[in-house]
Symmetry: C2
Subunit: 336 residues, 2 copies
DNA sequence: TTGTACGCGTTATCAT
DNA sequence: ATGATAACGCGTACAA
């Protein structure tokens, strides 16, 4: 029942320093070590992590900041998967995670995070073009890795997927199956991922010599704007609809079917994210899969490099995406 | 650029103790206070939380443990909402959250959590009948609140919803609309919520004098088992299917429609959870709404009571649920 | 290899 | 109201 390292020292007849060495893998004679470990075994001692942090200057805890719209957080598995990936990578290093969601003002959150001795570094989701929280973190001394990135983050470490390339590939796919009037439902204009995907769509359309006048409607990543956005696009006579995420594609599918149109014969449909339900839709949805867990894990690994060598230059990682072609674009196959 | 409280003291010409009082709201003369605060303003000092924890014995951080199947965590918004509720209640107290998911062994996780000086208390999800992690937490000195509970947790503080009552109410609703061959797709047998809901179903059926021989099939809370479970039940000629959660109801709906049966005319369908998609199904799904965010927030509030008065007797809270009646059981209304 | 002694930055106790 | 001063528990130069 030893509560402190001093008590352990007394019980095992050595000095506090020796016990500390046993605990942290210093050089101790085999004999002494086994003696201390014997005591350790029968005493269920637990080190005081606050004291350890204070003395060593490291807490072995990293912060995770996901300061986003609660509604989005609720329904989009993206964030759960991101957490899982981070948690997994943290477990590999026996490190802990402090989590901040958007329940306090960004100023308050920032202040807490920057408190000394709390976290060794932080991973923050950067999905807004201007985010004072991200700016504050980057301006601070605290090692910081972004998940996602803004154009201005060229000097920061980040992990992202190449949304431009992915959206370009999807648009190219739609063109390759003979569609030319390809409508696009985008996300919030200030959302970085939305902007990237839109850019990829534009880029592919332009390369194919197709017009994007009147083919783009604005959504907000939620299903209802997929419903209304698709209605608007169908009125303009599109033969394909590419949605910036699966949630909106779900809404678009509703609208298409409500009008008695066939997918993909009349209108091809594509999403982005490959959420769980995408494969279960009727017809199964063509979409883009991004390794969200892997993003989270990579962000943590990236952060640890920064923590262990703070002078290291920023490392920027673009993870690959995968085009998942299903019957909502290539049709013909057996319907489930 | 004062980094420590001592530097602040020198800069403002007072002692370290006085600065500490200003910071923590001790009694200081207005004059002295304003002097210190002036220095404070131009120096962006941030207290060292590790030192504070060590000296005060409190970290103002609580642990949250959700040691569950990653796959479930991915797709079920339950956990996101729970986190949101907790985060919100923590923000009210300016407290932080450490999060542990199931990436390490329960022994390792338990060991870390029980380390001194890390967290002031812990909220843990208890969804398994026997969980060494929960047992270890309850056996420890650390203030602990469960979300959910096992039968044996009568001496612990917990927050839960009355799943028995809710399932009873739903079953009674199905009976009230004239169904008598009511099939039930349950969750994993060792899952507490699943067991509660099943008990509620049985209870209502028994009270109505209806047989449950051959009306219960086992699922696992995921959509595929809803598909297969419903097939099995339909073969037995049921006129209603009650699923232990919405995800399985989604699968059941697929099966029912694939057989060309009408909902609710031929088969009434009910779920549990009221997930986002439930209202969007065709027909909209009758289900049970439980205030998940509220559960999380209440768990945190409960925990703080325990932290502030460790001798306080355990407080057990059962939050109410709400029957959400939609067209999958009462039909007739306008289809969307 | 082991022990001594100091420092980490803060809160809290006790005088004044 | 304010100021010394002692904890808080651990890591780690430095000395032995």
């Amino acid at each position: 029942m030893a509560r402190t390292i001093d008590e352990l020292a007394v019980l095992s007849g050595v000095s506090r320093a020796t016990v500390s060495r046993v605990l942290n893998g210093g050089s101790v004679s085999a004999k002494t070590r086994s003696r201390v470990e014997a005591v350790l075994g029968e005493t269920n001692y637990r080190p005081n992590l606050a004291a350890r942090s204070l003395a060593s200057g490291r807490s072995n805890v990293v912060g995770v900041v996901m300061h986003i719209d609660p509604h989005l957080l609720f329904q989009d598995p993206y964030f759960s998967q991101l957490l899982q990936g981070m948690s997994s990578a943290l477990a590999d290093r026996s490190a802990g995670m402090m989590l901040w969601l958007g329940n306090r003002s960004k100023e308050d959150t920032l202040g807490t995070i920057l408190s000394m001795g709390l976290v060794d570094g932080v991973v923050v989701t950067a999905n807004s073009l201007d985010d004072p929280l991200v700016d504050g973190l980057l301006a601070s001394e605290l090692p910081t890795v972004l998940v996602g990135h803004r154009k201005a983050d060229r000097t920061a470490s980040y992990v992202d997927v190449d949304g431009v390339h992915a959206a370009d590939a999807m648009t190219t796919h739609l063109i390759s199956i003979g569609r030319s009037r390809i409508g696009y439902i985008t996300g919030m204009p200030r959302n970085v991922a939305a902007a990237d995907r839109l850019a990829g769509y534009r880029q592919a359309m332009k390369r194919a010599g197709l017009s994007v006048a009147d083919t783009i409607v604005e959504g907000d990543f939620n299903t209802p704007t997929g419903v209304t956005g698709a209605a608007s696009l169908l009125d303009r006579g599109v033969d394909a609809i590419f949605c910036a995420n699966d949630a909106m594609a779900l809404g678009a599918l509703e609208t298409i079917r409500a009008r008695g149109l066939r997918v993909p014969e009349d209108v091809a449909l594509a999403g982005f994210d490959d959420l769980e339900f995408a494969a279960r839709l009727d017809p199964p949805l063509t979409t883009v899969r991004q390794g969200v867990r892997e993003q989270g894990a990579e962000a943590v690994r990236n952060l640890f490099e920064l923590i262990e060598d703070r002078s290291r230059s920023p490392r920027r990682v673009l993870l690959p995406t995968e085009l998942v072609i299903r019957q909502s674009t290539v049709g013909g196959g057996p319907r489930t």
